[in-house]
C-alpha cells in the first residue's frame, strides 16, 4: 500500500520535472498547466483542498493553456493570467499550487 503511494508520488514528481509553479512566472510567460496540487503547508485561510477546488472552478485545470498578462505594481503581486478565453486575477501565494510547463520559446 505504502509503496504504491510512494511510487505514484514518484511518478507524479517525474511528470512535474521541468515544470515550475505559476507563482514564479513572469509577464509574457506562456505554457500549459500540468498539475493543480494543493499540498504545501502555506496558511491560506481555507484548507488546501478547498483552495484546490476554487482554483479548479476558476479554470485552473490540467491541460489548460495560460499566459501571464500583468502583475501588480507592488511586489509584482497579484498576477493576471489569461486562461483560454478568460482573464483571472490571483495572488502569487495562491498560484503556488498551480504547476505549469512554460513554452520554451517564450523565455
Amino acid at each position: 500500500m505504502h509503496d504504491l503511494a510512494a511510487e505514484a508520488r514518484a511518478q507524479a514528481d517525474e511528470a512535474l520535472a521541468g515544470s515550475t509553479r505559476l507563482s514564479v512566472a513572469r509577464p509574457g510567460d506562456r505554457g500549459v498547466i500540468v498539475e493543480v496540487r494543493a499540498d504545501h503547508a502555506r496558511e491560506h485561510g481555507v484548507d488546501v483542498h478547498e483552495l484546490e477546488r476554487r482554483l479548479l472552478e476558476f479554470g485552473f485545470v490540467e491541460g489548460a493553456r495560460f499566459e501571464l498578462l500583468h502583475e501588480g505594481a507592488i511586489w509584482k503581486d497579484p498576477i493576471a493570467v489569461r486562461l483560454d478565453d478568460m482573464r483571472i486575477a490571483l495572488r502569487r501565494r495562491d498560484a503556488e499550487d498551480v504547476w505549469v510547463r512554460l513554452d520554451t520559446a517564450a523565455r
Binding site: 484546490e52 477546488r53 472552478e57 503581486d77 493576471a80 478568460m86 483571472i88 486575477a89
Partner: protein, 624 residues
Amino acid sequence: MSDAVIRPARVALVGNPNTGKTALFNALTGSRQKVANYAGVTVERKEGTVTTAAGRTLSVLDLPGTYSLRARSPDEAVTRDAVLGRLAGEEEPDVVVAVADATNLRLVLRLILELKAVGRPMVLALNMYDIAQRQGLRIDLEGLQQELGCPIVTTVATRKRGIEELTAKVDELVASGALSTDNTWHEPSAAEIRGAHREAQRILKAYVRPPERPDTFTAKVDAVLLHPLAGLLILGAVMFLVFQAVFSWAGPPADAIEAGVAWLGAEVGRLIPGDLLRSLVVDGLFAGVGSVLVFLPQILVLFFFIILLEDFGYMARAAFLMDRIMGVTGLHGRAFIPLFSSFACAIPGIMSARVIDQKRDRMTTILVAPLMTCSARIPVYTLIIGAFIPDRTVGPGFNLQGLVMFGLFASGVVSALVVSFVIRKVFWRGAVEPFLMELPTYKLPSAESVARNVLQRAQIFLSRAGRIILPLMVLVWVLSTFPSAPAGATGPAIDYSFAGMIGHAIQPLFAPIGFNWQMVVALIPGFAAREVAVAALGTVYAVGDAEANATALGVTLAHSWSLATGLSFLAWYIFAPQCVATLGVVKRETNSWGWTAVMFGYMVTLAYLASFAVYHAAVALGAG
C-alpha cells in the same frame, strides 16, 4: 391553454458574475421589481414579475452570481439554497434560467452541468449574443440544445432582444408540466470538478467554433490600465475626478435640500398651534427627514460612478491594482472602493461594500469605513483648528494648520488599517482567504441600466436605512428638547433638557480627557451628524447661528478651552461614531444590531483613548 386560470410560475436566474444577469433581470421585469433582504442574511433579494405572451405571470428571482453551487460566500449560499429549494421562507423555483455570456462559455458550462444534476426544468439564455456575433463566434445552437437537453434562447439583455422568446420558452416548459427530476447534486470533489471541465471542454469543442475576430480591445485597454505605473496613475486620476464630482455636483443640491426642507418645515410650522408640537414637527421630524435626504446627492453621485465603472469592467481592475496595498491589512483589493468612497461619506462607502463577496472582508470593511475622514468632519476640524492652531508657516510651503488637518486625515487612514488588522485577528483568527477574481471584458455601460441601479441604491437608502435613521434623529431631538427650560431661565435651553442632564451626569467620565460639561452636552445633539457639533457648540455657548458665525464661535472656544482641550476634542472626532445615519446604515447592511454595537463600542473606546493620550501629552507639554 384550456385552464381558466393560468398558474403563475417561479423562475430563478442563475449564472456566473458579469454575464449580464442583472441586465437580463431588468429587461425581463422592468420597473416591476422589489428589492429586499433574505431573512437572516445580508444578501439582497431581488424579485420582479413579468407576464408572458400566453398570459402567465412569472415571478423572477435574480440570484447572486456564482461559479459553482458549492457556495463560498453568503451570497453564493443563497443561490445554492434557492436552487435546491432549501432556502427558508422561499418556495423552490419551477424553472431555472441559466444565464451565460455567449462569448465566455467555459466556466458556465460547468455550472450548467451542476444545475442539470439538480434536475429542475431549465432554460439556457445565451446572453451578449450581439458581441458573439460581432466576433464571428459560431455556436451550434441545435446541437448544444440536444447535448444539454434544455431549450436555448439567445438574448441581448441591454437591447431587450430575445426577452419574449425567453419567457415563451419558460412558459412552454411550465405548460408542458415539466417536472423536476431527481436531485442528484452534491458538493463536487476536486476529481469531479476536473471531470466536469473535461466534459465542458468536449462540449465546447463539439458545438462552438472559436471567434473569427476575437476581442482585442480588452487586451489593449488592459495594457494601459493595468500597467504597473500608468495604471496606478490613472486610478489616482479617476478617483480624484470622482471626488471632485462628489463635492462639486453633490454639494449644491445637498445645500438646496437642507434649505428646502428647513423652509418647508418653517412654513408648515406656522400652521401648527402650540410651541411643543411645532418644535416636534419642525425641529424633530422635518430636521430628521432633511438629515436623511441630505445624503441623497452624495449617494447618487458616488453610486453613479461606482456603477458606471463596475459595468465598464474597471472595478475589477482597481481591485487588482490595489490588492497588494489593501493586503497589508489582510483585506482584498475589492475593499478599496468602499473605503475610498468613505472619504466623501461613510454611508455610500458602507453601502458599496456589497461588491466584496467574502463575508469577513465585507464586515471588516464596513466596520472601519467610518474611520475615513468624511466630509462632515471638515467643518468641525476647521472650527477647532482655526480656534487653536496658529496660522503660521513651518518650513518651506508648509502651513501649521494644513499640517494638522493632514495629520487628522492620516490618523484616520492609519487607524483604519490597524483596526482592520486587529478585527481580522480577533474575529477571524487571522485567516486570509484566497483572492481569485475574473477580469471581465470591457463593455460599454448602458445608460438605462446605470440609471436604474443608481436609483435602486437611492431607494434602498431612503426606504430601509431611512426607517432606522429617522427615529434615531427624533430621539436625539427629544433628548435635546425635553424638558424645556423653566420660565426665567438664564442658561441655554439645552442645559435643562435630558441632553443637558446626561451631559452633566457623565461629565466626570469625560473630565480625564479634558472635556467640560458644555462639550459633553454638545456631543449629544452632535450624534445627529458630525457637522451638527458646530451648531451644538454654538447652542451651548449661546453663539447665535454658529454655522454662519464660525469665527465668533472660534473666538469663544479659544477663550474658554485650553489648547489641550481643543486638541483632545479633535482627537475625539477622528474616532467617535458621532453620526446616527452611519449607525443606521451599518445596521441595515450587516442586518445586525450586534455588529452595529461592536462598531459603536470600538469607536467610542478609541476616541476616548486617543483624546486621553492627546490631552495628557498636551498638558505635560504645558498646553493645559
